[in-house]
Each structure stands twice: as C-alpha cells, then as structure tokens.
C-alpha cells in the first residue's frame, strides 16, 4: 500500500470516530437559508432537495471536524479563542465559528449559509433589503 493509501486508511477510522460537536444556528441565518431555498424550490424542487441534502451533509462533516478548514483572517468581533471558517458546497458558502461556548459546551455556531462565495450581496435588490434590515435591527 502506498503512502496515500496508508494515510487514507488512517483517516477513515478517525473520520468515523470523531464525536460530533453540537451545531447551532441563529434565527436570522435560518430564515435567510429558508428564503434562499424557497427561491430555489420555485425554480426547481429537485435542486432545492439536492442543495438542502448537501448542506445538511456538509454540516454533519463540520460537526465532526469543525477545525479542518483554514481560519479566516482578521474577523472583527470573534469571542476569545474562537476561530471563523468557511466551506463551500454546491455553490453555497457555509460560515461558522468554533468553538462557540453555549451552556459550557463548545459548539459550532453557523453564522450564515449563502449562495456564492460571499455574497448574496452581489444582487442589488438583495443588498438593499439586507442594508434596510441591518438599519432596523442594529443599534
């Protein structure tokens, strides 16, 4: 067995054995995700199902290995010790913070799930709505 084969063989039990961390998502990020998937469903119910399944699978992976992606540099407002990361699946970007302590338990906090690398903000109508929403809720 070559080096890659041996590495892969070592990783399989690790992947299966890693205990998943609790994953939580805030109300707003959840509403935004549903809004996006509703939009996709209106175009194609099959795509909405596929995207929902892939996002769920990716979050299961993140729950088991929340620290495998490269940290995002220079994110303002991170709690002490927490690191921000992102992963992209089927063109949807999941952003999360780990460890985020809730009830003394290190958890994965999902910050946003959006279409595109950033950036549902590429759409001017969405950007306007997003800014209006911020203006209503931010102090």
């Amino acid at each position: 067995m070559g080096k890659r084969g041996r590495d892969a063989a070592r990783q399989v039990p690790q992947a299966l054995g890693a205990a998943p961390r609790p994953v939580i998502i805030g109300r707003y990020a959840k509403a935004e995700l549903f809004e996006l998937l509703d939009y996709v469903q209106a175009q194609s119910p099959r795509n909405a199902n596929l995207v929902a399944e892939r996002i769920s699978k990716e979050l299961e992976r993140i729950a088991r290995h929340p620290e495998t992606r490269a940290p995002e540099a220079d994110v303002p407002g991170l709690p002490d010790g927490a690191v921000a990361r992102k992963a992209t699946v089927s063109g949807y970007t999941i952003r999360w913070v780990y460890p985020f302590v809730v009830d003394a338990e290190p958890s994965v906090l999902v910050v946003s799930i959006r279409r595109g690398s950033r950036r549902a903000l590429n759409d001017p109508a969405y950007l306007l709505r997003w800014l209006e929403e911020r203006a209503r809720h931010e102090p």
Binding site: V23, Y28, K30, R46, N49, A52, P76, V111, R119, H137
Partner: protein, 96 residues
C-alpha cells in the same frame, strides 16, 4: 468598472502596441474590446491592490455584521440545534 472616455482599446492593439496600452492602464483602467464588446479591463498595480483591499474590507464587514447578528440571536435564545433545522429541511424540500 467605469472607464473614462477614450480609455477603450481594441484587442488587436494589445499585440500592436502593448507598451502603449499598459502605459495608458497605469493612468487608469483601460477597457479592452473585441469588436464592439468589452472583454477585459486592464488596471494598474496600485488600482488592483486597492480593489483587493476593498474586497477584503467588505468581506470583513460582512463577517462582522453576520457574526454580531448570530451572537445576538444566541444571546436572546433565538437559536436552534441544527438537527432540528435539518429535519425541517427534509420535510420542506422533499425529493420530488
């Protein structure tokens, strides 16, 4: 990207006058056209770096706002375990 009047060059000029087109780009972005359609923009190193810095700043701003919102939701108890959300996703977006 907006370019000033006269800052548009044909793609063939890149071959015939590359140095001239680059010199022009150092003064401001140049639109490169194939026939009448813009196909690329040439910009100076300084302008490119400025765009990269703006892009990074926008990324940081989006992270900061989203993170503040997510942490605010948690603080107010407005959050859910992902397992519950995943169950809703399965019911709401079923296999057709």
């Amino acid at each position: 990207m907006a370019v000033e009047g006269g800052r548009s060059r044909q793609i063939s000029e890149l071959q015939s006058d590359a140095a001239g087109v680059v010199a022009q780009a150092e003064q401001g972005p140049v639109e490169i056209r194939r026939y009448s359609e813009p196909v690329a923009y040439l910009e100076s190193v300084d302008q490119h770096r400025e765009h990269q810095e703006l892009d990074a700043a926008l990324n940081r701003a989006i992270w900061a706002l989203d993170l503040a919102r997510a942490m605010g939701d948690v603080k107010e108890g407005n959050f859910e375990r992902w397992e519950n959300v995943a169950a809703t996703l399965r019911a709401r977006y079923p296999k057709p």
